[in-house]
């Protein structure tokens, strides 16, 4: 469902060019939870941000259900982005909107029929266990609760893919565990493909079906999680 081929990203700095992704190939199947692990600066964020074109790749292709997102612009790009949810390390919630309004926000952006919006929002809040916080503002929530809101928001437009950029790195171990369990449950329940980047082995072990190791802008190893744990422990 997602096929990344020969992906390169070069940042042009005043001090010179910097290769952040070097000829990356990756294939992610429908419904998988795919982990990308690597040290700080390896290029993890750059890779995941290329998948929804927050960063524009320098060359290569990223096919999502056959459509190459790297060739898309304007309206077409915005439409496909609606089918790619994303959550971030620091949540990025709208601070002046309630939990409910945050979850409704992507529906407003997508426009069209608003009829089922209320029901959809309620259903998502139930899914992430925050029904009673519907009217609260993000500033009144804990980190874990904020990330739950962000997850509900990312799922509002029924995305095919959920991109997670260090989604648990700002959370304590217990909260991390509960967020990972939630992601696993969502993956099983609605079949959304999850791509998750992290620098923590235990995150990969906890939920990833497959994993790729990224090192100095290159994928150095990839495959089913179970087969690779030993190797990662050496690398990391």
């Amino acid at each position: 469902m997602i096929e990344i081929r020969n992906l390169c990203k070069v940042y042009h700095n005043p001090t010179g060019d910097f290769v952040a992704l070097d000829d990356v190939d990756l294939t992610i199947a429908q419904g998988e939870i795919y982990g990308v692990i690597g040290l700080s600066g390896a290029g993890k964020s750059t890779l995941i941000r290329c998948i929804n074109m927050l960063e524009k790749p320098s060359s290569g292709s990223i096919r999502i259900d056959g459509e190459d997102i790297t060739r898309m612009r304007g309206r077409e790009l915005r439409r496909i982005r609606q089918s790619l949810g994303m959550i971030f390390q620091d949540f990025n919630l709208l601070m002046q909107k309630t939990v409910e309004e945050n979850v409704r926000f992507p529906l407003e952006i997508a426009g069209g029929k608003q009829a089922g919006a209320d029901g959809k929002v309620r259903e998502l809040l139930r899914l992430v266990g925050l029904e009673e916080k519907a009217g609260a503002y993000p500033a009144q929530l804990s980190g874990g609760q904020k990330q739950r809101v962000a997850i509900a928001r990312a799922l509002a437009n029924d995305p095919k893919v959920l991109l997670c950029d260090e989604a648990t790195s700002a959370l304590d171990p217990l909260t991390t565990k509960s967020i990972l369990e939630l992601l696993k449950r969502i993956n099983e329940k609605i079949g959304v493909t999850i791509i998750l980047i992290t620098h923590e082995m235990k995150v990969v072990e906890a939920i990833c079906d497959k994993v790729a190791v990224i090192e100095n802008a290159r994928i150095v190893k990839d495959g089913p999680t179970a087969e690779h744990i030993g190797h990662f422990q050496e690398v990391m």
Binding site: Q82, N92, L93, M95, I109, N157
Partner: protein
Amino acid sequence: MGAFLENYGAMLVQGTWDTLYMSFLSALFAYLMGLPLGVALAVTEPHHILPRPHVNRILNTVVNIVRSVPFIILLIAVIPFTRWLVGTSIGVTASIVPLVIGAVPFVARLVESSMKELRKGIIEAATAMGASPFQIIYKVMIPETMPSLVLGASITTITLIGYSAMAGAVGGGGLGDLAIRYGYYRYDTTLMMVTIVLLVLIVQGVQLAGTRLSKKINRQ
């Protein structure tokens, strides 16, 4: 005291009204133009949602040019334009023209700096959801910075109260005009003090209202 009020009461009420009218109306018009301009200054920067280096440079230059003209000079320089626009260059309504011209770039800078306080990640999240630049501006940037915009609006209004005293002195009208005509030219110190007290009260009131409102709407 009774005699003072009898002599000057009506004039002070009129002057207060004129000052409020000039500063609030020009603040309103200044925002109609300054808000879009300030947003444009922010979004056309490199790495923002509508990066346009040339447009950005031009807007910045224009804003800086207008901002670097001292208000007292701007006041006189725009007289022909004011005459063309409102038919006269004297009176309270005519004073609004230079006030607005002087305030637009000021407002634009305040709005720009409010927009820059917004964390980049929030805009990025909206982009990732498939929001258009226009949606990001009016559904994310403006609502998320509203408490800061409200504070900016009270700063603008207060600045305009000060400027309106100058505009009034040149064009006629407002408390500044009274203070200069009676206090300065006729050595009426009492009237001068009263106008100053009134101006202080108005400024305090606007600042207090702005701060309160900003706090009240801020959910962060």
